[in-house]
């Protein structure tokens, strides 16, 4: 009887918890490594690259020449679709970039059907680098 009491008080509950833990933790580990098709949205998202990271990697490679062409303290005025601004801001930081900034340098993103040159002409700016078909780095010529 004393042996049973000793076992119950010292080992039974920890043992039960260890067994239940193994039964719970191991399937979770397995699921994390190889998620099944009918998994939860959070788990599915956990196991793949999110769209934002893909875009950030893409824009990081596109915007790489900016750091080569301009001193790190030079700020940029952004002209273009606001949806993409957050990516440019993140990738270019700590360089300041904003649609509200007053700067001699422009990052211009042309929308569908728009031409980079015509937008740049509005700001009296010349092309410094064509970063993509619809994205360019510009500098003002004389007075804006």
């Amino acid at each position: 009887m004393k042996v049973f009491t000793f076992f119950r008080d010292h080992f039974l509950i920890p043992l039960l918890i260890f067994i239940s833990a193994a039964l719970i933790v191991f399937p979770i580990v397995q699921l994390l490594i190889q998620p099944q098709k009918n998994t939860t949205p959070m788990l599915a998202e956990f196991n793949k690259v999110d769209a934002f990271n893909t875009r950030l990697n893409h824009f990081e490679s596109i915007l790489f020449p900016v750091s080569k062409l301009l001193d790190k303290n030079v700020s940029l005025k952004y002209v273009g679709n606001e949806d993409y601004f957050v990516y440019f801001q993140t990738v270019l930081a700590p360089r300041r970039i904003s649609p509200d900034l007053d700067s001699d340098y422009f990052l211009i993103l042309a929308g569908p059907g728009e031409s980079l040159k015509s937008i740049a002409d509005n700001y009296n700016a010349r092309l410094l680098a064509l970063l993509a078909n619809d994205l360019g780095l510009f500098q003002t010529i004389g007075q804006k």
């Binding site: 010292h10 509950i13 920890p14 039960l16 918890i17 260890f18 239940s20 833990a21 719970i24 933790v25 979770i28 580990v29 994390l32 490594i33 939860t40 949205p41 959070m42 788990l43 998202e45 956990f46 196991n47 793949k48 690259v49 999110d50 934002f52 990271n53 950030l56 990697n57 790190k72 303290n73 700020s75 601004f85 957050v86 801001q89 993140t90 930081a93 700590p94 300041r96 904003s98 649609p99 509200d100």
Partner: protein
């Protein structure tokens, strides 16, 4: 890579030396002192980094040199203090055999889960939305902004400009050590915060309530999937969890620290660090102040004033940084600014039943799908099994009071949000639950005082007796 780990080591060393000075005569176990060292170190170094930016206006040349001087100053202070005082811990503060086996088992489970988190983190090196679009973006300016580091408060295109800077500042100081912006810094920091949150919860409960409760509580949190998800997300919710749990555990333990105010000092530091982590932490600070006031008058010996002095001394350093941030640089939080517009609008939003129903539906979704029911089931069964047939009494309702206050406040913010409620709830609820769930399981463990806790209290008394013998 070496510089990254050196930056983490410096934070750890500063935290460890401070804790070693403070707790050498207390009954806090050594394993907890080791685990608390990094949160203390990260809080102090991130605040120091921010205040250094404020003082130098971003013109400092090589910040790590400043931190090495800080480390040496703390080292000299610690050596001096330890030479005068006791050189060893006064009570047996290691693990018992049973505790050691349970801890090793739990540690293996935790490492298994987190090794997968580490593996999956590389899939999204930039972290989740708030990490790259806000926290790490601010860190980039703190690290490399130079004179323009205050751009994070001025730009209308950086969201939540008023948010506390614990994580952003920690990442920036890590980059300052590394000399470059790297995804590795925030990734490692995020995983370590996740690990610390689960290990500190487990070991605090192990200390205060014994191995069985520690295992139940630890597994209930470990199987809560948002923990693993957000450990790879690089958000500041997990640092907040660490500081809230640590502060509450130390406030409970302060009952056994009647002669000295060191544990209360450390609790105050953790409360302040919680407020330095997130705006939700400021709410926790308000709740903790009320609870501390109650504890001071109920338990503090020799006087409530000494308790208050120790608590506010610990709180002061993070609070100064927070006040500098909020008063000098940042404005009102966007959520409060939006809500203050009209009282009639608030009443309209609160009385709109559809909004309540929407939040409830989302909550059910998380309960059923994301939670997978395991943590709740495990907690219920373990809790009932453990307490059945034993004598116990209600011990601490303070953590439950804090949980209730935080839950009501979070619910209010969601109901009266100036943003689209479906967007706000869907993007915030899982993280709010991530903050509340560990507090809930911790509160449950602290609620009842069973045989093991009496034993634990006996260890406190035993410790005091040994102290007296040592002093005589």
């Amino acid at each position: 890579m070496i510089l990254l780990f050196l930056s983490i080591f410096i934070s750890f060393a500063i935290g460890w030396l401070l804790i070693r000075c403070l707790l050498s005569e207390s009954s806090v176990p050594r394993y907890l002192c080791v685990l608390m060292a990094l949160p203390v170190g990260w809080a102090l170094t991130s605040i120091f980094f921010f205040l250094w930016l404020v003082v130098s206006d971003g013109k400092s040349l090589w910040y790590p040199a400043v931190e090495i001087v800080l480390f040496l100053a703390v080292l000299v202070y610690a050596l001096n203090k330890l030479r005068k005082g006791r050189k060893t811990f006064s009570v047996r503060t290691g693990l018992r055999k049973k505790e050691a086996w349970v801890s090793i088992g739990f540690f293996i489970f935790t490492i298994m889960n987190f090794s997968i988190v580490a593996m999956k983190t590389s899939l999204n090196p930039w972290g989740r939305w708030d990490a790259w679009a806000r926290i790490n973006l601010k860190a980039r300016f703190l690290f490399g902004g130079g004179d323009n580091w205050t751009w994070i408060f001025e730009s209308s295109h950086i969201a939540h400009h008023d948010y506390p800077l614990l994580l952003g500042s920690s990442v920036a100081r890590t980059w300052a050590w590394m000399g470059e912006i790297s995804h590795l810094g925030p990734q490692v920091i995020s995983i370590v915060w996740g690990l610390l949150s689960i290990l500190l919860l487990f070991f605090f409960v192990l200390w205060l309530r014994g191995p069985v409760f520690a295992m139940i509580v630890g597994l209930s949190y470990l199987t809560f999937f948002p923990l693993l998800y957000w450990s790879a997300g690089q958000y500041s919710d997990l640092p907040l969890v660490v500081y809230m749990i640590s502060a509450m555990a130390l406030l409970i333990a302060s009952k056994g620290d009647r002669e000295h105010g060191e544990i209360v000092f450390l609790a105050g530091l953790f409360v302040g660090a919680a407020a330095w982590s997130k705006n939700e932490g400021i709410l926790f600070l308000a709740c903790a102040l009320v609870w501390s006031f109650f504890l001071a008058f109920k338990h503090a010996k020799p006087s409530p004033w000494k308790f208050a002095a120790s608590f506010f001394s610990g709180l002061s350093f993070p609070l100064i940084a927070l006040l500098v941030l909020k008063v000098v640089f940042a404005g009102k939080t966007d959520l409060i600014e939006g809500q203050m517009s009209s009282l009639g609008q608030i009443i309209f939003l609160i009385t709109d039943l559809e909004r309540h129903q929407f939040i409830w539906r989302e909550f059910q979704f998380y309960l059923e799908v994301l939670w997978n029911r395991w943590p709740l089931l495990l907690l219920s069964i373990g809790y009932v099994l453990h307490l059945a047939g034993q004598r116990f009494r209600i011990a601490n309702i303070g953590p439950f009071g804090i949980l209730a206050a935080l839950s009501v406040a979070y619910y209010y913010v969601l109901i009266t949000t100036p943003y689209d409620i479906s967007w706000h709830v869907s993007t915030a609820l899982d993280r709010l639950l991530l903050q509340l769930w560990p507090i809930f399981v911790f509160s449950l463990a602290m609620l009842f005082n069973n045989f093991y806790n009496q034993d634990s209290e006996a260890r406190h008394v035993h410790g005091e007796e040994i102290n007296k013998v040592g002093q005589s």
